[in-house]
């Protein structure tokens, strides 16, 4: 199979390059590109690799703090966690592949994010994932849930990294475009971080891992007439993951990283060999020469185009110190992985690739990498949310009738069915398993813990992007705080529709603005992330979903909080929120959606100053050992949060509705932000309330733990057993009808 000799306008269009961009290529090269070069420009200037539509907005995000070792720009973000250690973490999307082939798409998403993290020298210690599926009624949903969850588990379980948390929600807005965002957290020595900038002239460029096949090659190329009829057969666009090889790759890379032979290292992710080599050369201000005949290949007859653009999994590219190739080769051979010196660094600032005696690529590095296009796309401010009509709220609803319906609704239902398919305990450091607020993983061999969480409320983002952006960050910060952790930093995965539509750019810009405000106010910088545009079907975009992955540090695991009630007879105290319990914020609440059938109103506002004050106060209580039971209030509001604490601890509670409230529904189900529930022994209540007042934080005792029911006021009660059944049953029942594919 030969590549076409000349590039046509049709090929340019098929490669997703605009006429302007093609003109730019002609100027850069001073000649038309070869077909292979066209492919390279196409992937390097793709939205995915170049961030051409998002770059200028991402600059708004705060990225530094005294504890940040490396912010965005490398494979993952790095923060200092003391004792000479660093946490390295990132989140990435695998939305489209997971929709096409849920098992492999999700599995390779996990594989890819793991590589981003161990590339930097970290041993991965935890995975998380954000899953947003379409409506449960949509005919594809079950199949997608089954495949995605099995794929995430299949990969993570096999490599032996615990999957400890995430989100899993359902909304018709994702019917044709699900979201699968995977996050990995790793641990490294702070003085042994590996970066991707190549250095030194004439240094060997080394390929390790699996062989290259025709997987995932830019689908655009199929149009060329020169390809034979079986082209499609030969170029499956779906990659298959090999977690076993990934496990070997992790061990081999970490073993090599303990020596001193690596100059630079970069995983081969999207756009494979092309983007990894451009990245390393561009960062180091160097050039690279590649001899494609030395690339380990899985199939005979691969073209230069295919080798350079293949997205075969489980591969890495490294620049080594000259003469030290033997050290590296011995390690990779021991782990039974491919190892090949496929090129060397140069001082030309150009990428030159040879194949079968011919130069097939000769292009300057910088215009494709650092100096790739950047767009200031037009944007339209989103229409403000329609105000919530007073009549929208069913005033007559019985809260104890609404509660089980809410707890058993798809979004609030227990996700046990999901996380029991993930090995969440391997590595024997998971001290808070899935099911609570943040997951907590012990820093191996120490008494410290890393708390981690993924959060975003797309319905808020859709109604008001700025507020939604703020809220996503604040909720992550709150979940970490509720465990007693000091929030350190954020990774994000920004899932939106097409940036070519002003309304979508408006959502994007709004969410970023909100995120930036919250990150600044909460000293919670963004250190890594990913943008996923074009999440739409037939011109209809998904509800905007900027997933926030947050990590925090618990200095002393003996001072950690968990959400489940631990003892009967303790006081339940509400901390944060409005000073006077005048009602509650029902706009965009789950109560409104699930019980009144309405998605309406403005989302609850986030008061960032109050958020910080309240969170710092709660954290200080946990750090002082005065509070060991804590849960933040989010989806579903106060009553749902109390029920979650009761179910987690298998201890009931009696709540007192403040007498000043004529109508308790909004108070019980409003999703007002910046609030926590804690429990303390009765004789500590006065001290706690006084402390709160001194800290400028509102606090109100709202009930007592105990019994096997949830009691509301004098005449209403509901048994925990009934609530548990409602909470736990929905997902397994829904999935029971699924026809799991054969493994």
């Amino acid at each position: 199979m030969n590549d076409p000799a000349t590039v046509t306008a049709e090929m340019v269009a098929d490669h997703g390059l605009s006429p302007d961009e093609y003109d730019r290529i002609l100027t850069i090269l001073g000649r038309p590109p070869s077909f292979t070069e066209l492919g390279i420009f196409s992937v390097m200037w793709s939205e995915h690799c170049s961030y051409k539509s998002s770059k200028r907005w991402l600059r708004l995000l705060p990225t530094s703090a005294p504890w940040v070792i490396c912010g965005p720009g490398e494979n993952a973000g790095v923060v200092d966690i003391g004792d000479g250690l660093a946490a390295i973490f990132k989140m990435e999307s695998h939305n489209h592949p997971s929709y096409i082939e849920p098992y492999q798409g999700a599995a390779t998403g996990v594989g890819g994010i793991l590589r981003d993290v161990f590339t930097m020298g970290a041993r991965p210690i935890a995975n998380l994932n954000v899953l947003r599926f379409g409506s449960p009624d949509h005919p594809k949903t079950r199949h997608l849930v089954a495949g995605v969850v099995a794929g995430i588990g299949g990969y993570g379980n096999c490599v032996g990294v615990p999957t400890v948390g995430g989100e899993c929600t359902f909304h018709p807005g994702y019917d044709g475009n699900i979201l699968v965002n995977a996050m990995t957290v790793g641990l490294a020595r702070a003085d042994r971080i590996f970066y991707s900038a190549a250095a030194g002239i004439g240094a060997p460029v080394v390929y390790v891992g699996s062989k290259t096949g025709r997987d995932g090659i830019h689908g655009a190329t199929m149009a060329s007439a020169e390809f034979s009829d079986d082209t499609e057969e030969k170029r499956p666009t779906v990659q298959v993951g090999d977690p076993f090889t990934e496990k070997l790759l992790i061990e081999a890379c970490l073993e090599l990283m303990a020596t001193d032979v690596i100059v630079a290292i970069q995983d081969m992710g999207a756009a494979g060999l092309t983007s990894s080599s451009f990245e390393m050369a561009s960062k180091g201000g160097l050039g690279i020469e590649l001899d494609l005949d030395r690339v380990p290949v899985r199939e005979a007859g691969m073209t230069a185009y295919e080798m350079l653009l293949s997205e075969s999994q489980e591969r890495m590219l490294m620049v080594l110190k000259p003469g030290r190739e033997g050290v590296a080769e011995a390690i990779f051979r021991k782990w039974e992985l491919d190892f090949a010196v496929i090129g060397n660094t140069t001082d030309t600032g150009r990428m030159v690739a040879r194949h079968q005696g011919r130069v097939v690529v000769d292009v300057p590095i910088d215009p494709l990498a650092k100096a790739s296009p950047e767009y200031d796309r037009p944007l339209a401010d989103p229409p403000g949310p329609a105000p919530l009509a007073a009549t929208a709220v069913p005033a007559s609803a019985d809260p104890l009738e609404a509660l089980p319906r809410l707890l058993g609704s798809p979004d609030l239902s227990a996700k046990r069915w999901v996380w029991e398919q993930y090995d969440h305990m391997v590595m024997a450091d998971t001290v808070q398993r899935p099911g609570g607020d943040a997951a907590v993983v012990r820093v191996h061999g120490t008494g410290k813990g890393l708390a981690m969480t993924c959060d975003c409320t797309p319905r808020y983002c859709l109604a008001d992007p700025v507020e939604g952006g703020r809220q996503a960050v604040a909720e992550a910060w709150r979940n970490l705080t509720a465990a007693g952790a000091k929030p350190l930093a954020v990774t994000d995965c920004l899932n939106f529709g097409s940036p070519e539509r002003p309304a979508i750019m408006g959502q994007f810009a709004g969410c970023i603005r909100g995120m930036a405000e919250a990150c600044s106010a909460l000293a919670f910088p963004v250190v890594s992330g990913n943008v996923s545009f074009y999440n739409e079907t037939n011109g209809v975009a998904i509800p905007p979903a900027p997933s926030i992955g947050g990590i925090g540090l618990i200095d002393d695991l003996d001072r950690m909080a968990t959400p489940g009630f631990r003892a009967a007879g303790e006081a339940i105290v509400l901390i944060g929120g409005d000073p006077a319990p005048t009602g509650g914020w029902l706009g965009q609440s789950l109560f409104l959606r699930e019980i009144a059938g309405l998605e309406a109103g403005a989302p609850p506002p986030v008061d960032l100053e109050g958020e910080r004050r309240t969170g710092d106060f709660v954290r200080s209580l946990i750090a002082a050992g005065r509070v060991v039971t804590c849960h933040d209030i989010s989806d579903g509001g106060l009553l749902v949060a109390v029920a979650e604490m009761a179910l987690a601890g298998n201890i009931g509670a009696a709540l007192t509705v403040p007498p000043s409230l004529a109508e308790p529904l909004a108070w019980l189900f409003g999703e007002d932000q910046g609030r926590y529930l804690v429990t303390v022994p009765q004789d500590s209540v006065a001290g706690l309330l006084a402390g709160a007042e001194a800290a400028g934080v509102t606090a109100l005792a709202i009930g007592t733990t105990g019994g096997d029911r949830l009691t509301l006021g004098p005449d209403g009660a509901i048994s925990l057993a009934f609530l548990r059944e409602a909470h736990e049953a929905w997902l397994p029942r829904f999935m029971a009808i699924s026809a799991a594919r054969l493994a």
Partner: protein, 80 residues
């Protein structure tokens, strides 16, 4: 009546299992193995139905459940 279904990976799709098995055969001293591909073999007992309809029915089963047609091919053999 029975259907015998072979489900195999499409050409070009990575087969980690086959790769590992080839490796293991080599380690066991079976030299000269050029490659291994692992697929599924599914036997379905269809009771007594007319063979014509059976082919179409099993084809539907393959597309809906037995094979993942994004990465797998299948072949059906109706026997009795």
């Amino acid at each position: 009546m029975k259907a015998k279904v072979h489900v195999t990976l499409k050409p070009g799709v990575l087969d980690p299992q086959g790769k590992a098995v080839a490796h293991a055969l080599d380690a066991l001293g079976f030299s000269g193995v050029h490659g291994v591909r692992q697929g599924k073999f599914i036997e379905i007992d269809l009771g007594d139905q007319d063979p014509g309809g059976a082919q179409a029915r099993v084809d539907a089963m393959c597309r809906q459940l037995l094979a993942n047609t994004v990465i797998e091919d299948y072949a059906i053999d109706i026997v009795d």
